[in-house]
């Protein structure tokens, strides 16, 4: 009798703990469905997933205006937003290099080599979280980060407003773009963010093929596209017209950078970094968050191996793919079709302080 009663109590206790702790129930496929060929769609069905959007989203808190874009463009290209008066946003986010810098890791104030590779700003209007570790929640939030960081633009933000206010034309431009608000860190960030949202990839040969031009890309690239969506499993994360779902994944890179876990302390975020766009990817090496992978073929080889490191946080979708050399070539050929017909950008004429009298030079707010 005693043993029955105690087993009842134990059962009750176990059941309660099971439910309250929210332990996973049910069974299911432990592998992703992409491994199962019966779930593969047709080429034409996949093509439907890659249609470009017809408009750029602007947030209601910071709606589009031509005046904001014009002002934001000036600020983006203005090196006076840095403590040295030498580095602008465009120094690293260079329009001539697909809005990156072609370096394995960025270079900041005093030629300091930074910890991670400069991301492109292409299509950032559609990006949920910014930075490799997702620590910035909007473009407005992100804009001041590099400006203030001592290893990047090294500009004390409390002096930035004073510095820009000493240039009369900026005061006028801010009053036009933000009537009644004037120059503030908030309006500076809003102007830069609005400009950045207008930076959208040009039409790529891939886009023309998606739109129905069967001659726009090679047969190898078409095979590569199909592999991308099936056996190579790329589209699990590099999905949609912008070739990214913005997800944070540990893809098994061997370096010491632990990525997003410093921002969101959950085991799965260990060594997790944001999935970047693949637009213009063949122009934007070297690759990965630390710029350590030199070529697209090397990227494919990393994934074909199932990553360089096995650990608990590793994404289940990073696993040996058994791609042949020919298949890897096809996927790389596909990625080369993602380069847009981006036009040269016309640099803005920046407002300069009036130096016609013996006024002191414009070094207001410069860090010594």
């Amino acid at each position: 009798m005693m043993s029955i009663r105690s087993s009842w109590c134990r059962g009750l206790a176990v059941a309660t703990i099971v439910i309250v702790s929210g332990v996973g129930v049910t069974s299911a496929t432990s592998n992703t469905a992409v491994q199962n060929k019966t779930t593969w769609k047709t080429m034409d069905e996949y093509r439907k997933d890659y249609v470009r959007p017809t408009s750029i989203p602007f947030p209601t808190e910071n709606p589009y205006s031509a005046e904001k874009v014009r002002l934001g463009e000036m600020l983006f290209f203005d090196p006076r937003l840095s403590g040295s008066n030498y580095i602008s946003c465009a120094s690293c986010h260079n329009p001539s290099m697909s809005w990156g810098d072609g370096l394995p890791r960025g270079i900041g104030h005093g030629m300091t080599i930074l910890g991670r590779r400069t991301p492109t700003i292409l299509n950032s209007a559609w990006t949920e979280l910014l930075m490799w570790d997702g620590r910035k929640v909007s473009l407005e939030d992100q804009a001041m980060g590099p400006i203030a960081a001592d290893v990047e633009m090294n500009q004390p933000v409390e002096k930035l407003v004073e510095k820009l206010s000493s240039i009369e034309t900026y005061k006028v431009l801010f009053n036009i773009a933000f009537p009644g608000e004037g120059i503030s860190l908030d309006t500076i960030a809003k102007a830069i963010a609005t400009f950045e949202r207008t930076i959208v990839s040009g039409i790529a040969p891939f886009d023309r093929w998606i739109a129905g031009d069967e001659h726009a890309i090679s047969e190898s690239a078409k095979r590569g596209f199909y592999l991308f969506n099936t056996k190579a499993n790329c589209a699990t994360c590099h999905s949609g017209w912008n070739l990214t779902d913005g997800s944070f994944q540990d893809i098994g890179m061997p370096d010491a950078d632990v990525g997003r876990i410093k921002i969101l302390d959950m085991p799965r975020m260990n060594h997790a970094f944001k999935t970047p766009t693949l637009r213009d990817v063949s122009r934007r090496g070297p690759y990965m968050h630390d710029g350590s992978v030199p070529s697209l073929t090397a990227v494919m080889e990393h994934y074909n191996r199932g990553g360089a490191v096995k650990r608990e946080s590793l994404s289940e979708d990073v696993r040996p793919l058994n791609l042949t050399t020919a298949e890897i070539t096809d996927v790389v050929e596909f990625m080369k079709t993602l380069t847009g017909d981006d036009q040269p950008i016309r640099l803005p004429i920046l407002p300069m302080a009036d130096q016609s009298s013996s006024a002191k030079p414009a070094t207001v707010g410069q860090r010594k």
Partner: protein, 105 residues
């Protein structure tokens, strides 16, 4: 054998009691929650089911409703009891565009 039957009955009873408190299923498919807003009562259960072909990691850091589910492989379900009142956002750590506004009253 009788002990095992009683044990199973005990678990079944407790399970039924938990579900009788109110249970809602939220599915995850196409990197979205099946609903973007949900209101439940204190003590209710939400079953999060992963209907996507890849992993999700549902959590919330909002006060009162904070929780973290272990990673869910495709097809897996996890349930969580919301014992306190609160309101906030439920998200997926892997896919930041997945958001669900939850109110527990």
């Amino acid at each position: 054998m009788r002990n095992y039957i009683i044990l199973a009955a005990a678990i079944a009873t407790v399970t039924n009691v938990a579900f009788a408190a109110g249970s809602t299923t939220v599915n995850q498919a196409d990197k979205k929650f099946s609903t973007t807003e949900l209101t439940i009562n204190k003590g209710d259960v939400i079953v999060f089911k992963n209907d996507d072909p890849f992993t999700h990691n549902v959590f919330s850091q909002s006060p009162g409703i904070a929780f973290e589910l272990k990673v869910q492989k495709p097809g897996e379900s996890s349930e969580i009891v919301f014992a306190r009142e609160g309101t906030g956002e439920v998200k997926c750590a892997i896919h930041p565009q997945m958001k669900l506004k939850l109110t527990v009253k």
